[in-house]
C-alpha cells in the first residue's frame, strides 16, 4: 500500500509529498519491520534500482512475507527531479537537518515527520551512492558510537566492505545518526556513483536485504548466501590519494582491483599543453575500493582510497 508520510503545500499550485510503500502479509507472524530508505541526496540514484527490485519481488511473493517492509524511495523528491544533490531553492544538504523539528521551517518539518515515521523500525538501510565524483564498492559506513549494535547487521548485508569511522560532531545531524541515537538501528550503505545505476551492485545489495530479512524472521522465501566483507576500524589502514595539481584525471586502474605499490592508478593531464602534469601511483599494496569517476580535478580533489594489504 502506498501512503503519504508527509505533505506540504507549495506556493504555486503544487504539494510536496514524501511517500512510502508498505508491504506486509494479511496476517503477520513477525512484528519486525525493515525500512529501506534512499534519495536524501537527489543526485544519488543507485537506491532507486534496489527499491524497485525489492518492491516488485516482494509483491510477487507476498505470501512468503512474515513481517513489515517499508520502502521510501525519495526522501528528497525535488532533488531527484531536478538533478540536485541538496534541497533545491534552499541550497541545503538534507542530510544535515535531522532530526528536524515539527515547529521548524518546511525542511525541518519534513525531516521531523520522516524520522517520526521511520523510528521504531527493527532495522533501517539508508542507501547512498557516493556522489558524482567517486565510485564506491558496496560498503557500509558505521559511526564508532554505534559499532556494537550495527556490525552484526552489516556483516549479513552482502557488502564488500565495512568502514567504522570516528565520531564527528558534524555528522550528528545526519538521518542515520539521529535514528541510531534514538535506538533505531540504521545502516548507511554507500555504493556505485552519483547520477547512475549500477545493476550489479543493486542486485548484490538486494540479495543482502533478503538475507537480512530472512535472519530477522520477516521473510521466509529465498535466503541468498552473502559474502564476507573486508573491515576497517581505523583511518590508519586507509590510504587517501589526493590530486597534486589541477587538471584532467585519466583513470588506469580498475575499480575494486588489488594494486601493487608504485602501480599506476591514473594520470593528471593538461589538454592545452598536451602534457602529463602528474602520474598517480599507489603508495602501498592494497585494495582500491574508491576511484574517481569525474575527470576534472582541482588540487586536493580525491582520486581514490586504498585499504592497506
Amino acid at each position: 500500500m502506498i501512503t503519504t508520510v508527509v505533505k506540504v503545500k507549495l506556493p504555486v499550485n503544487e504539494s510536496l509529498e514524501i511517500k512510502k510503500m508498505r508491504l506486509e502479509p494479511e496476517v503477520k507472524s513477525c512484528d519486525k519491520r525493515i525500512s529501506i530508505v534512499t534519495g536524501i541526496h537527489g543526485d544519488e540514484l543507485e537506491g532507486q534500482y534496489v527499491c524497485y527490485q525489492l518492491s516488485d519481488y516482494l509483491q510477487k511473493n507476498i505470501g512468503l512475507l512474515k513481517g513489515t517492509v517499508d520502502i521510501y524511495p525519495a526522501l528528497n523528491p525535488f532533488g531527484i527531479d531536478s538533478i540536485t544533490r541538496g534541497i533545491p531553492a534552499f541550497d541545503l544538504d538534507m542530510n544535515r537537518i535531522f532530526p528536524g523539528s515539527s515547529e521548524g521551517d518546511m525542511n525541518e518539518y519534513l525531516a521531523s515527520q520522516i524520522i517520526r515515521d521511520v523510528a521504531g523500525s527493527s532495522l533501517v538501510l539508508d542507501i547512498h551512492a557516493s556522489n558524482i565524483f567517486l565510485t564506491e564498492v558496496p560498503q557500509i559506513r558505521i559511526n564508532e558510537l554505534h559499532e556494537k549494535t550495527l556490525i552484526p547487521f552489516a556483516e549479513e548485508a552482502n557488502v564488500d566492505f565495512i568502514w567504522v569511522h570516528g565520531a564527528s560532531t558534524v555528522l550528528e545531524s545526519t538521518f542515520a545518526h539521529s535514528l541510531n541515537t534514538m535506538g533505531t538501528p540504521t545502516l548507511v550503505v554507500e555504493m556505485g556513483v552519483g547520477m547512475r545505476i549500477t545493476k550489479e551492485y543493486g542486485n548484490q545489495l538486494f540479495k543482502g536485504i533478503l538475507h537480512l530479512m530472512h535472519r530477522m524472521g520477516i521473510w521466509s522465501g529465498e535466503d541468498p548466501e552473502v559474502r564476507k566483507p573486508e573491515k576497517s576500524f581505523d583511518h590508519k589502514d586507509v590510504c587517501f590519494l589526493n590530486a597534486s595539481a589541477s587538471g584532467i584525471f585519466l583513470k588506469n586502474a580498475v575499480h575494486g582491483a588489488y594494486v601493487k605499490k608504485s602501480e599506476q592508478i591514473g594520470a593528471i593531464v593538461d589538454p592545452l599543453s598536451g602534457t602529463v602534469i602528474d602520474e598517480i601511483k599507489s603508495p602501498v599494496d592494497g585494495w582500491l575500493f574508491t576511484i574517481r569517476e569525474y575527470p576534472v580535478v582541482n588540487e586536493g580533489s580525491l582520486i581514490g582510497r586504498i585499504l592497506y594489504d
Binding site: V8, K9, L10, P11, V12, N13, R85, G86, A89, F90, D91, L92, R96, G104, D105, M106, Y109, N131, F133, T169, V170, L171, E172, S173, F240, N242, A245, S246, G247, I248, D270, L272, V296, N298, E299, G300, S301, L302
Partner: protein
C-alpha cells in the same frame, strides 16, 4: 598597506586561485577581518573593501598604533564570486564548513587550512557573515557560546544588539567557532543584506569596526560612539512563521518596533490573488530579521523578534 597572497592553487583553465590579504601596520597580530567566503556575499566583501580604503588612509596619516598589525581579507573565495555560485565551483562544498581545514585534504579543506594558518594567531577575529535565509537583518554582532565567548567585548562595537548563539553540530566547522577554540576573540558581523549592497549599513559596520579597533588600542580614530548594545540569545528570540505558502507581502521591516497583535504581513494566493493568511505579532519587540523574497514556503521563519518594551 602591504598586499600579500595568503593562499593559492593553480587551476587548469582559470587564472590561479588566490586569497589576497591587505596588511596595515607592523608588529603584534592584533586584528584580522574576513569578508566573503561564498559567491553571493557581495555586501560582506563590499564592507571589507571600504575598510581597506579607510585603513589605508589611516595608515598614511600614521594612525595605526606602533607594534600593531591589522589584516583584511575581502574575499576568501574569488572563484565562486566570479561565477556567481554560492559554494565551491566544482563540488559545491562550503569553505565555511571546512575549518580548521586540512592542508593534505580536499580542495576546500586545503583553502580553509591555508587561510586558517595565516589568520589563527590574531588577537581579534572579525568576520562579515551572512545567513542562509533570504531576508534583511538589523546590523548586529553574533557570537557563539563556546565557553570562550566575550560578551562585554562584543558590546564595544557599538551595534544595537549582541546576539548569543548556541552552536549546532554544523557550526563546529565554521571560521568563527574555530577562531574561538584557538583563543582568538571572534565576532561575526551581520549587516543588512547579502547579495544586494546596502551602503548605509555597510558604512555603519565599517564605522563600528574602526570604533572597536580604536577602543582596543589598535588605531587612532575619532568615529561615532555607537549604541549601548543590548544582549539577547537566539533562544529568547521569537520566530514568526506563516501557516500557508504564497506571495509574501511584508508590512514592516527589519529594525521596526512592533506591538503585540500588530499585523506584520499577508500571504496572498499565487494564482487567485486573495489573502490566505495574515501574520500578527505575538509579542512586543524589535524585528531583528524580516523575510525578503517574493514567495514564502509554508512555515518559513518570516520574522525574528527580540522581545522588549520600547523605552523613550
Amino acid at each position: 598597506m602591504t598586499e600579500k597572497t595568503l593562499f593559492e592553487i593553480k587551476a587548469l583553465y582559470r587564472d590561479d586561485f588566490r586569497v589576497t590579504g591587505f596588511s596595515f601596520g607592523e608588529g603584534e597580530k592584533a586584528a584580522c577581518i574576513v569578508g566573503s567566503m561564498r559567491g553571493n556575499e557581495n555586501q560582506q566583501m563590499y564592507c571589507c573593501s571600504q575598510l581597506v580604503r579607510k585603513l589605508k588612509e589611516l595608515e598614511e596619516k600614521g594612525k595605526i598604533k606602533n607594534g600593531k598589525e591589522i589584516l583584511v581579507i575581502p574575499c576568501v573565495n574569488p572563484y565562486s564570486m566570479n561565477i556567481k555560485k554560492r559554494f565551491w565551483s566544482i563540488d559545491n562544498t562550503d569553505i565555511n564548513r571546512m575549518f580548521p581545514g586540512y592542508q593534505e585534504g580536499e580542495t576546500t579543506q586545503r583553502i580553509a587550512g591555508g587561510v586558517f594558518d595565516a589568520i589563527k594567531d590574531y588577537v581579534y577575529g572579525l568576520q562579515f557573515a551572512s545567513f542562509y535565509m533570504p531576508g534583511r537583518f538589523v546590523p548586529h554582532i553574533r557570537i557563539m557560546k563556546t565557553g570562550f565567548e566575550d560578551v562585554e567585548l562584543a558590546k564595544k562595537f557599538g551595534f544595537p544588539y549582541v546576539i548569543l548563539h548556541t552552536p549546532r553540530p554544523f557550526d563546529t566547522t565554521t571560521l568563527n567557532y574555530n577562531w574561538q577554540i584557538w583563543e582568538t576573540k571572534a565576532f561575526s558581523i551581520y549587516t543588512t543584506t547579502t547579495e544586494e549592497i546596502d551602503r548605509t549599513s555597510a558604512r555603519w559596520a565599517v564605522e563600528s569596526v574602526l570604533g572597536f579597533l580604536q577602543r582596543m588600542g589598535i588605531i587612532e580614530y575619532g568615529g561615532a560612539a555607537g549604541y549601548v548594545s543590548k544582549v539577547a540569545s537566539t533562544e529568547e528570540m521569537i520566530t514568526v512563521r506563516n501557516r500557508t505558502a504564497g506571495f509574501f507581502e511584508g508590512k514592516v521591516s527589519a529594525g521596526e518596533h512592533v506591538r503585540k497583535g500588530q499585523i506584520l504581513a499577508c500571504i496572498v494566493d499565487c494564482c487567485k490573488g486573495q489573502i490566505v493568511d495574515e501574520i500578527y505579532s505575538p509579542a512586543e519587540g524589535t524585528l531583528l530579521f524580516a523575510h525578503a523574497e517574493p514567495k514564502a514556503y509554508q512555515n518559513t521563519a518570516v520574522y525574528k523578534i527580540i522581545p522588549e518594551t520600547e523605552e523613550w
